[in-house]
């Protein structure tokens, strides 16, 4: 059972994963400007502490669902950066063989099930997984990561009610980055403090500094313990900020530059570095950062060299029509 404070090694590993995520995000920004990405890319730089801190507070057997902005969660849950990047670039070596794209990455063996680009979709998804653990009496926990925009969806309410009613082993992690797509939360939410809603389900609600990876880790670890004890769900609001635009398809600009500067000064990697300096030689941290950067650069190189997929008939486990549903599709699959 994880304690609520990570060991020094665990903290270092979180730091490393945050740096990897950061490198991924920044490189994606560059490649996007060069016209080399496909579809929108939702960067999470400045928010890495949430996805990484939360997933590293879980056990390997636990599961997590996340949003369209899930890169930190993917890396935090232990997915191979190279295969994540490959999926983002639609390569056959990606976790979905290029079929999923960056918003919908899933790796079942890692309990990363999965990215979900229907806003709010990650919430009932984790709740259902928690139900299956309860039915099977498995000692596993499900974590739902979702945004402040998603907190206004009906499924958020329905899921929280059911989870609290049945004391399901699920953790609701609201990643509050102050914005929906382009709209500030004050134009979307009737309350500024989301934790007050927890009382409406009789579950504990707690706000944490989302830019402090130790705080996020601690809150999620405690919630996981509650869940494992059979005490049901917890709502955690991780307060952070989106320093970039919503995605590569918008340029931001609706944020107040002063506020952006304020949050950039509280960059989660900087915060973490300062924390590490208390007990670990900064040179060691720097070496680790350099290694992470190099690892990510190599991952990009490898992934971008991987081939694009070829269109194929459905595999043996697939439920899609193998007999074509109309003559036009007869050239697809095995035919009729």
């Amino acid at each position: 059972m994880p304690s609520n404070r990570p060991s020094a090694d665990e903290h270092l590993d979180m730091h490393r994963r945050m740096v990897i995520t950061r490198c991924v995000e920044e490189r994606l920004g560059v490649l996007h400007k060069q016209g080399k990405t496909r579809g929108p890319i939702h960067r999470c730089d400045g928010q890495e502490a949430v996805g990484v801190g939360a997933t590293m507070a879980l056990e390997a057997r636990d599961v997590v669902t996340t949003t369209h902005r899930g890169h930190a969660v993917y890396i935090g849950k232990g997915l191979d950066p190279r295969r994540v990047i490959a999926e983002i670039f639609g390569r056959v070596t990606g976790y979905g063989g290029g079929r999923a794209g960056h918003m919908l990455v899933g790796s079942v063996e890692h309990g990363m099930i999965g990215g979900n680009a229907i806003v709010g979709g990650s919430i009932p998804a984790a709740t259902g997984m928690a139900l299956s653990f309860q039915i099977r009496r498995e000692d596993r926990v499900a974590l739902a990561v979702f945004g402040d925009g998603a907190a206004q969806t009906g499924i958020c309410h329905e899921s929280m009610n059911i989870a609290a009613l049945w004391r399901l082993p699920v953790i609701f992690l609201l990643e509050n980055n102050d914005y929906g797509l382009t709209v500030h939360r004050s134009e979307q939410s009737s309350v500024a403090d989301y934790t007050v809603r927890a009382a409406g389900y009789g579950m504990p609600g707690e706000a944490v500094d989302g830019n402090d990876v130790l705080a996020v880790y601690g809150a999620v670890a405690a919630a996981a313990q509650r869940a494992r004890r059979g005490d049901g769900p917890t709502l955690i609001e991780a307060r952070t900020y989106r320093v970039e635009g919503f995605s590569t398809s918008d340029m931001g600009g609706y944020q107040d530059p002063k506020e952006v500067a304020l949050w950039k000064a509280r960059d989660p990697i900087v915060v973490s570095r300062t924390q590490l300096a208390e007990s670990i030689d900064p040179a060691r941290v720097e070496r680790l950062e350099t290694a992470a950067e190099e690892e990510t650069a190599a991952a990009f190189e490898a992934a971008l060299a991987d081939p694009l997929p070829e269109f194929e008939p459905h595999g043996p486990s697939a439920p899609y029509a193998t007999a074509p549903v109309h003559a036009d599709a007869a050239d697809f699959g095995e035919g009729r």
Binding site: G121, G128, S132, I135, R136, N161, Y320, R336
Partner: protein, 323 residues
């Protein structure tokens, strides 16, 4: 063989599946303590404890939970009380269940079952009498079945629960009390196979769910006019039994398709188009669609009975085809 009511046959299948596999669980509104408003789940709570759960009224989330629970080791069977509430489940079906097997490169299958019941005839009015078959049949990655007989109700439900993929079961409120023979042994009925209800030579009547019973009556009427009608219960709306369809038309050269949902972009349209795709050269006349009129289901009986297809309209359609 034992005589059973349709509702009992479904109940039997659920018991058999739950006894055989402890990863099967059943949930939905009023299905545990009360046993379901159509009594399909009666007694399951007593037999299987917390694998049988009453839920809050939260269809959208329940459907999404069925999808995700099925990815982590269980086989959920969700009851949605009326087909009219299926729109609330469609995000879970079309944006979730439909996609993961493919986009995750076959890392997952999703063995869940969603049971619901639709149809009119008893004054439940515009929000509780629809047949929205087309909404689910449109979605790749799902299977959609509609048993008519108690034997098929049991056999298709058993097959659905064992299937690695999502299966939607469309029951009908007017079928629950019908009776029929059911085999003594638990035998799944293969999904995707139509059933020839009665063979015939002059025209094929393809129908689904309760409309199969109306088609049988229509075949009686037509027989009186010297027309030999073949009645085919499709049983599975997705996938379709293309061979059975083509075989029948090759023999009769005429077809009527009957579905209780609306016609426009409905299941009857698909069937008509499929027949054109696969059997055009065998057709001597256009396929006739019989479906609900293009309007809400009215409450008062003289209105409702005009909107929902019946034997008279099937007979009229057959006559048009043979004209």
């Amino acid at each position: 063989m034992a005589m059973m009511r349709y509702a009992e046959a479904l109940n039997t299948a659920l018991r058999e599946a739950m006894a055989a596999d402890e990863t099967v669980f059943v949930f939905g509104e009023d299905i545990a303590t009360y046993g379901g408003v159509f009594k399909v789940t009666q007694g399951l709570r007593e037999a299987f404890g917390d694998r049988v759960r009453d839920t809050p009224i939260s269809e959208q989330t329940l459907a999404a939970m069925a999808v995700s629970a099925s990815m982590t080791g269980t086989r959920p069977v969700l009851e949605i009380m009326y087909a009219d509430f299926m729109p609330l489940t469609l995000d879970a079906l079309v944006n979730q269940a439909s996609i993961y097997n493919y986009i995750w490169n076959e890392q997952v299958t999703m063995p869940f079952v969603l049971r619901t019941q639709g149809g009119g005839g008893v004054g439940t009015a515009a929000q509780h009498a629809k047949s929205l078959d087309a909404f689910v049949a449109h979605i790749p990655g799902l299977k959609v079945v509609a048993p008519v007989t108690p034997a098929d109700a049991r056999g298709l439900l058993l097959a659905a629960i064992r299937d690695p993929h999502p299966v939607i079961i469309l029951e009908h409120k007017l079928l629950y009390n019908t009776r029929g023979d059911v085999p003594d042994q638990a035998e799944p009925v293969e999904i995707g196979r139509a059933r020839v209800v009665r063979p015939g030579a002059d025209i094929s009547l393809f129908a689904t769910s309760r409309m199969v019973l109306e088609a049988e009556k229509a075949a009686d009427v037509l027989a009186g006019e010297g027309v030999s009608a073949e009645v085919i219960d499709l049983r599975s709306l997705r996938p379709l039994d293309l061979d059975a369809i083509a075989r029948s038309i090759a023999k009769t050269n005429h077809a009527v398709v009957v579905n209780e949902g609306w016609g426009f972009c409905g299941f009857a349209a698909e069937l008509s188009a499929t027949i054109m795709d696969y059997a055009f050269d065998d057709l001597d006349a256009p396929v006739q669609r019989v479906a609900a009129l293009d309007m809400p289901i009215p409450y008062a009986q003289p209105l409702e009975e005009r909107v929902i297809p019946d034997v008279a309209r099937i007979v009229a359609a057959a006559r048009r085809a043979l004209d």
